[in-house]
């Protein structure tokens, strides 16, 4: 059965809680968020277009023809932002180096001499941590070989959120690590791993679980629902979102319309995350509106999406929208590009088979219409 799609515009209001890592001012932070959202594979596959408004503290509009499942995913975006943004922290390479040294100290403390141990990493984040750990522990090259011998194995990862990656390693390799070392995890996860697998779980630092406080009386039902959906997890929680320069930790989201588990939204733009920069097969189109400098220009309440055969204008105040097609789409583009009525008319008349008088008459109708809706402003010099 083909799911029915309908044309929708979703408006994301300006947010005051975007981290400074995204940019120096609200506008650049909003642009970065839009570029992060655009990397979402489900949104990209839907053919969505994202628009960032022209003001200093702009809205983001997400336009497209969405089926009910994708629409539900977009509607959950504010909740995702509300949960993740307060706990989002970017762990840069220097932070990682510091915490690798903490991890090395804890491994020496828990395991004693490490000369007889061999080390392996869970790809791909674990490889980066193990590379640094090898220097911090002064490991010999032979300790890093893939040879499956009798030496106790220390398995290394960047972060442990549920232990599912460890479980997959156990299933696929058939070997049991003596210790599972990683930078960050919740203490209850480490305890669950040690109980279930008799494997020492060692982390450089603890993550805090926000779920009990956030969910209150719904916590136990939430936990039971996720345990039923995730048979690889040793533990379920909602921990701080520590983002590495190589990857943004996964969040799972239950789409109750699509009845499936989907990846959560990405909140860091490609320039901050290696995996996003190179891993996204394609992204949704992002259009950044400029304020314009001419006599005729869009107001801050107008978001304009250029969809090729038409231009869709969205009013972020009145929440109305209208599509300009035919010659009006060309006129809008000419007005934005030139900022001048006469120049826009000349441009359209040059490109299209129409007399200047006809073009000017239609252009005035368009300008009057959009001024009436406060989507376009015209200063005295041009009106």
């Amino acid at each position: 059965m083909i799911a029915r799609s309908s044309r929708r515009v979703f408006l994301v209001p300006p947010r005051r809680d975007l981290p400074g890592r995204l940019g120096g001012d609200p506008r650049s932070r909003t642009e970065a968020l839009a570029r992060a959202i655009a990397t979402d594979p489900i949104l990209a596959d839907s053919g969505a277009t994202l628009i960032v408004g022209s003001g200093p503290d702009p809205h983001i509009a997400i336009l497209g023809s969405f089926d009910a499942s994708v629409a539900a995913r977009i509607e959950a975006l504010p909740d995702h932002l509300d949960h993740v943004l307060p706990s989002l922290r970017y762990v840069d390479y220097r932070d990682v180096e510091r915490d690798v040294e903490h991890l090395a100290a804890k491994l020496r403390q828990r395991l004693g001499a490490l000369e007889d141990h061999r080390f392996r990493a869970i790809p791909r984040g674990g490889l980066i941590v193990l590379g640094m750990l090898a220097y911090a522990l002064d490991l010999d090259a032979s300790q890093l070989s893939d040879a499956d011998d009798d030496r106790p194995l220390v398995l290394v990862d960047d972060v442990a959120l549920t232990g599912a990656r460890l479980r997959r390693f156990l299933v696929e390799s058939g070997s049991k690590p003596f210790a599972f070392a990683h930078l960050y995890s919740h203490p209850d996860l480490r305890a669950a791993i040690e109980t279930a697998e008799s494997t020492l779980a060692v982390a450089a630092a603890d993550l805090v679980d926000r779920a009990p406080e956030r969910l209150g009386g719904r916590y136990e039902a939430w936990r039971a629902a996720w345990r039923a959906r995730s048979d690889e997890d040793y533990w379920v929680g909602l921990v701080d979102q520590l983002c590495f320069p190589w990857a943004e930790p996964d969040i799972s989201w239950w789409n109750d319309v699509g009845k499936r588990v989907e990846p959560g939204w990405r909140l860091l733009p490609p320039e901050l995350v290696l995996k996003t920069r190179h891993g996204a097969a394609h992204t949704a189109d992002v259009q950044i509106m400029e304020r314009g400098t001419g006599h005729v220009r869009p107001t801050e309440r107008a978001l304009a999406a250029d969809l090729g055969d038409e231009v869709v204008l969205v009013d972020v105040v009145g929440h109305g929208n209208l599509a300009l097609s035919g010659s009006w789409a060309a006129m809008w583009r000419a007005l934005v590009a030139t900022g001048d009525l006469a120049a826009a008319a000349d441009s359209v008349a040059e490109e299209y088979d129409a007399g200047s008088e006809q073009v000017l008459e239609d252009l005035h109708r368009l300008v009057d219409l959009l001024r009436g809706q406060e989507l376009l402003e015209v200063t005295a010099e041009s009106s």
Binding site: R7, D79, D231, V312, N321, L322
Partner: protein, 42 residues
């Protein structure tokens, strides 16, 4: 170069607009967990 045909100006309502706020969600925060998805359809 040939000029493009001049099409009659048209104005249509394109779709429905929804302002996204967390208000109105039936299960805020209930639908996500840390970690990758490990199974689907359950």
């Amino acid at each position: 170069m040939d000029r493009k045909p001049y099409m009659r100006p048209e104005l249509i309502e394109w779709g429905t607009v929804t302002q996204l706020t967390a208000t109105g969600l039936t299960n805020p925060g209930n639908d996500m967990k840390s970690g990758s998805r490990t199974s689907v359809g359950k």
